[in-house]
């Protein structure tokens, strides 16, 4: 899951939890899932460096991701 999807899921979970009609068992399951989302989002935020790559196309049409040399 991307950070975007995790945070979206987290928002949905919180909204669902804030809704009083959620039954208790689901609420507890949602809470657990929310905690997992938070932990995973925090760990993906911990990635500290901007990575710059390059997407190129080979003669046969295959796509390749490689390091991009910024000093080029």
């Amino acid at each position: 899951m991307t950070l975007e999807q995790r945070l979206e899921r987290l928002e949905a979970i919180v909204a669902e939890l804030e809704n009083e009609h959620t039954d208790l068992a689901s609420a507890l399951a949602l809470f657990e899932e929310g905690v997992t989302c938070l932990r995973e989002a925090a760990s993906s935020l911990a990635q500290a460096e901007t990575r710059v790559k390059r997407l190129t196309e080979l003669a046969d049409g295959a796509l390749v991701i490689e390091e991009f040399d910024e000093d080029e």
Partner: protein, 420 residues
């Protein structure tokens, strides 16, 4: 001239000599006319010879030059060539643009447009007209570019490409962003710098394309398709630094604009400076004034993300507490009520039991026996409670507090009767 001419005629050997003074000037000319084409009716030349000669002379005399004038009487011919006049207050010049030379021109000029044109002056031999063959053309105030821009815009607009409803929301926290631009351009450097500062950890994927010149439209379209085919990016930035309207032209090219519209990933367009608006800008999901601004809009800063997560965490905890509050309270209430109910229940049961057992106790013959009374039973266990239950000689049993005694009735006397 004459000298050369007479010399030439002398060389033929049968004409008059230079020094033949008997001839008049007129007859001399007539003689020359036999030798020089067009010098006399007899040597009159064909029209095509003259026009071809004029063409050679004129074309030899002029190198390609820039000419300025107002377009008049423009016609695009079926064969694809453009014909029009260029004029000023005093003169007019017939002009032609061959279809193959139109590729580098954004649009055909309109009548009344002031243009400067680079071309070759020549003669259109078939008509005997002077003709200016134009290779490049610029209109005052970027008129041709503007016209082409408007024409393409109208076409794409008719196809609904600029409809507000087409705009997609940008992802707020993209972790992988593709950038379609020149791998060596200033735009790319700006975008990388902003992302480094604002959202470290984001992955940027450069998809190189020429951003100006003849190949730019084709390369931009290919790069956009490559991004789509790859599928790894959550957002695409298509960017180019500032330049003239002509430099930025690829971003107004119909095919490029359609490729941006067809991109399955949300797009940010940042072409040129703030004042430049390209058709790519109009069709993209978001228009940024500059490449740096595009990078700013592309990501939420890390600090903001952290704040948002903090808030979500708080809401999550609060929500679950709130959510548990009612059930907890209900559970507590229920436990309390249960305890209370049980106690009540037991208490009343206990009381009733006490009362009942008291009554039972009171009713119990055993209690009476306790006090020293005895109960008489016959052999069948029937209680003999009355004198009349006895017959003389009846064997019966006396039940006492601590056991039974066998007895025989000897005599009976009813209460109130004298003993027998």
């Amino acid at each position: 001239m004459r000298r050369r001419a007479t010399g030439a005629s002398a060389s033929l050997g049968d004409g008059p000599t230079l020094f033949d003074t008997s001839q008049s000037a007129e007859s001399l000319l007539e003689d020359l006319g036999d030798i020089f084409p067009g010098a006399s009716p007899r040597s009159a030349i064909a029209v095509s010879t003259l026009t071809q000669t004029a063409k050679d002379v004129v074309e030899g005399a002029f190198i390609p030059i820039w000419v300025r004038g107002e377009v008049t009487d423009f016609k695009a011919h079926r064969n694809g060539h453009w014909y029009f006049g260029l004029r000023d207050l005093a003169s007019q010049l017939r002009c032609v643009v061959w279809s193959r030379d139109q590729l580098g021109m954004p649009a055909a000029p309109d009548d009344g447009m002031q243009i400067t044109a680079l071309g070759q002056l020549g003669v259109y031999a078939a008509r005997g007209e002077m003709q200016f063959t134009i290779k490049r053309m610029e209109a005052e105030g970027d008129g041709l570019w503007r016209k082409a821009f408007e024409a393409t815009r109208a076409k794409l607009d008719a196809d609904g490409l600029f409809a507000p409803g087409r705009k997609r929301a940008l992802p707020r926290h993209p972790q992988c962003i593709a950038i379609v631009t020149s791998g060596s351009g200033a735009a790319l450097r700006d975008v990388i710098a902003v992302l480094r500062r604002r959202a470290p950890g984001v992955e940027l994927v450069v998809v190189h394309a020429a951003v100006q010149g003849e190949n730019a439209p084709r390369e931009l379209v290919r790069a956009l398709r490559r991004v789509a085919r790859w599928g790894g990016a959550e957002l695409v930035i298509i960017a180019r630094g500032g330049g003239s309207l002509e430099d930025l032209w690829a971003f107004n090219h119909e095919r490029v604009v359609r490729a941006v519209a067809a991109c399955p990933v949300p797009t940010i367009s940042a072409v040129g400076h703030e004042v430049d608006i390209s058709l790519c800008d109009l069709v993209a999901d978001f228009r940024a004034a500059t490449p740096s601004a595009a990078a700013e809009s592309a990501v939420t800063s890390r600090v903001e993300v952290q704040l948002a997560m903090h808030t979500l965490r708080r809401r999550l905890l609060h929500a679950v507490e709130e959510r548990l509050y009612v059930p907890k309270a209900r559970a507590a209430n229920a436990a309390h009520s249960l305890a209370a109910a049980t106690t009540d229940h037991l208490r009343s049961r206990g009381e009733r039991l006490g009362a009942l057992s008291g009554r039972l106790h009171a009713l119990s013959p055993l209690a009476t026996l306790e006090r020293g009374y005895a109960v008489a039973h016959d052999a069948s266990g029937r209680t003999l409670a009355s004198v009349t239950d006895f017959a003389e000689g009846l064997a019966f049993t006396l039940r006492l507090r601590d056991g039974d005694v066998s007895a025989v009735a000897r005599e009976r006397t009813k209460s109130g009767e004298p003993r027998a």
